[in-house]
Amino acid sequence: MKITYREAIRESIREAMQEDEKVFLMGEDVGHYGGCFAVSKDLLAEFGAERIRDTPLSESAFVGIGIGAAMNGMKPIVEVMTVNFSLLAADQIMNNAATILHMSGGLFNVPVVIRMATGGGKQLAAQHSHSLEGWYAHIPGLKVLTPATLEDARGMLISALKDPDPVLIFENSTLYNHQGELSEDAGAVDIFKAKIRRQGKDISLVTYGIGYHKCVAAAEILAAEGIDAEILDLRVLRPLDDATILETVKKTGRVLIVDEGWKSGGISAEISSRIMEKGFFDLDMPVARLGGAEVPMPYAEHLERIAVPQVETIVAKVKEMI
């Protein structure tokens, strides 16, 4: 069936709520407005205000309420409009969700799912456009998912709801309209492994989220020029799937990491470091990275465009490497 990324998530939420009355959705404008990105459109009419719960602009409280409810038998899906707003709830995510299992010596687990939009590309400037998923991947106790495909948009939410621990799902906001084919019986997916989505022998493009789609386009251009790029979709930023990363390194010997987040102290730095620690002798050349320019996201279209990796910059960088 033809479906958009937005609809894939919506259907996933709908099915989870039909199957399990403990699942409920909560967040700013998820109900009457239909979701800031229209993900939860029509769900209020179907499930009612108890389970499609509009919240005030109180990120810290409603994320914390999700954590508390998860500790006490419910399965909340908390929607935070954008990753920048999630910083208002960073206390709850870092100090409670990620720590309670450990601080309680294993007594209380926190099966909360927190979804949020991430990334730029919509000229929303420096308080709505960042890619901070790498920050959250820094924190032990969290799982960090970055669905790039329709299958993952649908399946990762299903798996996240079955996970006993806090799971953060980062949905790139430019992907919501992305349309494609999704099998009718698409269901839960693995949320621990990265996936090699394009086989190639010359270079490995290691990426996730929107970066995956840019790498696909770049690989097609490169293929026409005789360069065979492999694409590794990380899918999960915590825990990182070292084995699959090292597998592609071994195969191609050349690695370009593509991430819209900043490089300094970012997830691309972490991946590069792990490759150096564990796959150094499989490399034919130093690991290269394309990341976000080290600047708060500018508003002007031409500046925003060059602030993150684009298809042509990926193509150019690969050519430079081969």
Binding site: A61, V63, N96, G106
Partner: protein, 335 residues
């Protein structure tokens, strides 16, 4: 700054009830005195925040709760844990960093947890546990359970955004939370009048449409009566309730506090009207307790406290191979 109540009002309770309440307060007092001693001897490390002086609040509130009711507390929570039924042994062992501790030595003094008694921590980010309490209560409400979640916090938490966000949502969603503000006059070393433009805390709760009361937090009976009213209100499905218990901390904020911010005379004055001292005087006035009976209670408490130290001393240190346990659940993900 509030002042101690100096009037010893008559009590109208049975001898057994009187002794039970006194026993609970003495358990907390003596347990913490022992903890301070263990701290000075180096058996307990990190932070140790003593509740001495405030015992009437935890004891009065817990006495109005049922076993299935939940409690979310602060980092000054030994008393709450003891009063809720967490064993002295497991608390002392926790502070000794032993595997037999209620949080397996992962939490320490500030993070006591116990699933059996529904004790949800031990939270050390001021105000950060108020959303948790509203969430726990929301889950009970959505599962049609007639359960109260009691959430304790100091008056310092009132300055945090999470306090206001949580009160608003608790009221808006009518969640069964009993908010208990333990107003001891000082947020660490900052007096209330240096931090709040509106010092009447219960008025803030009222502004969120939450029924609220000011209670003499040094009077265990007054606290219990208020908690009973509050619990009845909450259980009847009418939403949250707020108690501001005005109390006083006799000891330093933590063991590192030189107490430069208050006069020793102020502390001494409050001690004269302490929750245990006053309660004993009132009981004696009505022949509800004798010196021999007090001694008997003290002996019982001393035995429990001494046993907890032995238990903690003989506990085991968790294997270093287990360092990375409890970061993620050990249950397998069902796919």
């Amino acid at each position: 700054m509030h002042q101690p109540n100096k009037i010893l009002t008559p009590v109208h309770i049975s001898k057994a009830d009187a002794q039970h309440l006194l026993h609970q307060m003495l358990r907390i007092r003596r347990f913490e005195e022992k903890a301070a001693e263990m701290y000075t001897q180096g058996h307990i490390k990190g932070f140790l925040h003593l509740y001495i002086g405030e015992e009437a609040v935890a004891v009065g509130i817990m006495d109005a709760l049922q076993p299935e009711d939940g409690v979310v507390a602060t980092y000054r929570e030994h008393g709450h844990a003891l009063a809720k039924g967490v064993s002295a042994n497991s608390i002392m062992a926790e502070m000794f960093g032993k595997e037999e501790g209620c949080s397996r030595g992962r939490g320490g003094s500030m993070h006591l947890f116990d699933a059996e008694t529904r004790f949800f921590g031990g939270n050390a980010i001021v105000g950060g546990h108020l959303p948790l309490a509203v969430g726990l209560a929301l889950a009970d409400k959505m599962q049609q359970k007639q359960v109260v979640t009691a959430c304790f916090f100091g008056e310092g938490a009132v300055a945090e955004g999470e306090f206001h966000e949580s009160l608003n949502l608790a009221a808006l969603w009518q969640t069964p939370v009993l908010f208990v503000c333990e107003n001891n006059g000082y947020a660490m070393g900052t007096a209330l009048d240096l931090s709040e433009s509106e010092m009447d805390i219960h008025a803030k709760a009222a502004s969120y449409q939450i029924p609220s009361e000011v209670v003499d937090g040094m009077d265990v009976l007054a606290v219990r009566q208020a908690a009973e009213r509050a619990a009845a209100h909450i259980r009847s499905g009418k939403g949250p309730y707020f108690l501001e218990c005005r109390t006083y901390r006799f000891r330093a904020h933590s063991m590192f506090d030189a107490e430069l911010y208050r006069d020793k005379s102020e502390v001494e004055e409050w001690k004269k009207y302490g929750p245990i001292t006053s309660f004993i005087k009132r009981l004696k006035n009505q022949d509800l307790i004798s010196e021999a009976e007090i001694l008997e209670l003290e002996n019982q408490v001393a035995a429990e406290v001494n046993e907890s130290v032995k238990f903690a001393e003989s506990g085991t240190l968790e294997s270093e191979a287990n360092l990375l346990r409890f970061v993620y659940s050990e249950k397998k993900l069902v796919m």
